[in-house]
Symmetry: C2
Subunit: 208 residues, 2 copies
DNA sequence: CTGTAAAAAATGAATGTTTATTCTTTTTTT
DNA sequence: AAAAAAAGAATAAACATTCATTTTTTACAG
């Protein structure tokens, strides 16, 4: 329920709402504030009032852009995940060799997470929390398809070990999250050398 | 501040308190309830009142055993982590070969997480949350020493890749957490075959 | 072993905050 | 001037924690 309810008859709401123009600047500020607060205090300490204050907005304004807190967090998750996937596969070429294709995607993923640690860390925060709906999570996974296809092709060609996608992901992609978290905590400064070593390890773990 | 404060002069408190007997049954019930609730709803939806109800205890009773919520969560984390490490290294033998030693520890870790998914999942929930103090986290890591020593020996012997502990951990141990989470979500049923494949991948990723 | 009084543990209800969300009004945009 | 966006203040529920009592356990004198 939001402010439009009082002006627009219920039957027209659905068709009219998408036409409404809203200031996307405030929305972006809210998204950014949400990411930052969740990262530094966790979901349990990112109240709407703080998010509003950090975005220089009244708490009430949040409800113009988002239905409620659950919706806010899930929308932010979906947007960041989509951006991440978009970046990872932007330079992807399905005709490249398995080795080339995998290295390209792997490095783009690493690059994204390193260039925007806030967003990368936010995504790993979301990975295990029940705050994110199952549907949002599935929504985020579906963009992974080109990589899964690549793996399947690699398995057929005898280059990649015949493992489930889950296992391949767990050993070649998931470790990046650990390194990122270590960096965020200050336990590690990821260098180019580290990244090359990590790539070697990832490739070694999934190839015959 | 707790109930003893009114009966015991401040100067005697520290020496006298450890002698006090308390019913460890209630405390254990609280620990179990905390793990269960945090696992299924996240930290943000595990209020003291619910924890108390699930442990069949009054909310006030929690404060006899724990200082506050932060303390409760951190104590639970430290206990579970200690139990996990104890289990992982129980059969460890520093004289075994690198390969044998690593496989033993790796399988014990996997075994622990699989035999008690609730606790295993709780630990991964804690891995990224700011609810856990830095000191609690360091406390949990220090038990990992035998594995780190094994790696160092393996590096000297030219068996293990000369990588930082962080990288070795990220690729050989951390993936287990992903598989566990997938199992908890119902996306995967971990079989003995999976486990063997996972072990091979772990070993491949860190060896020359 | 038993009765008893002090200590400790446990409780339900109370407290004061914090929270998400909504209401009413004002400001900005169209 | 109408519609939309934004705001601050209001609301009601949820929360962590404490308070005032009651119940249980402990220690030990007889």
């Amino acid at each position: 329920m939001n402010v439009y309810s009082f002006f627009i008859p219920l039957t027209h709401k659905l068709e009219i709402m998408p036409v409404l123009k809203k200031s996307e600047i405030k929305r972006a500020a809210l998204v950014k504030a949400t990411i930052h607060l969740v990262n530094n205090q966790g979901f349990h300490a990112a109240p709407m009032s703080k998010i509003a204050k950090m975005a220089n907005v009244s708490p009430a304004t949040i409800y113009i852009y988002f239905e409620n807190k659950q919706d806010l967090v899930n929308q932010v998750y979906k947007e960041v995940k989509a951006e991440y996937m978009q970046y990872a596969f932007e330079t992807f070429n399905a005709d490249a060799s398995i080795a080339e294709g995998f290295e390209l995607v792997w490095r783009r993923m690493a690059e994204y997470k390193l260039k925007d640690i806030e967003k990368g860390f936010f995504l790993s925060q979301c990975e295990n929390t029940p705050m994110i709906d199952t549907s949002s999570r599935q929504d985020g996974i579906k963009n992974l398809k080109p990589l899964l296809d690549l793996w399947d092709r690699g398995i057929t060609e005898g280059i990649i070990k015949p493992l489930s996608h889950q296992l391949l992901y767990a050993f070649s992609i998931y470790p990046l999250a650990f390194l990122l978290n270590a960096e965020k905590r200050g336990d590690l400064k990821i260098t180019t050398a580290h990244l090359n070593e990590a790539y070697q390890a990832a490739w070694a773990s999934i190839t015959q």
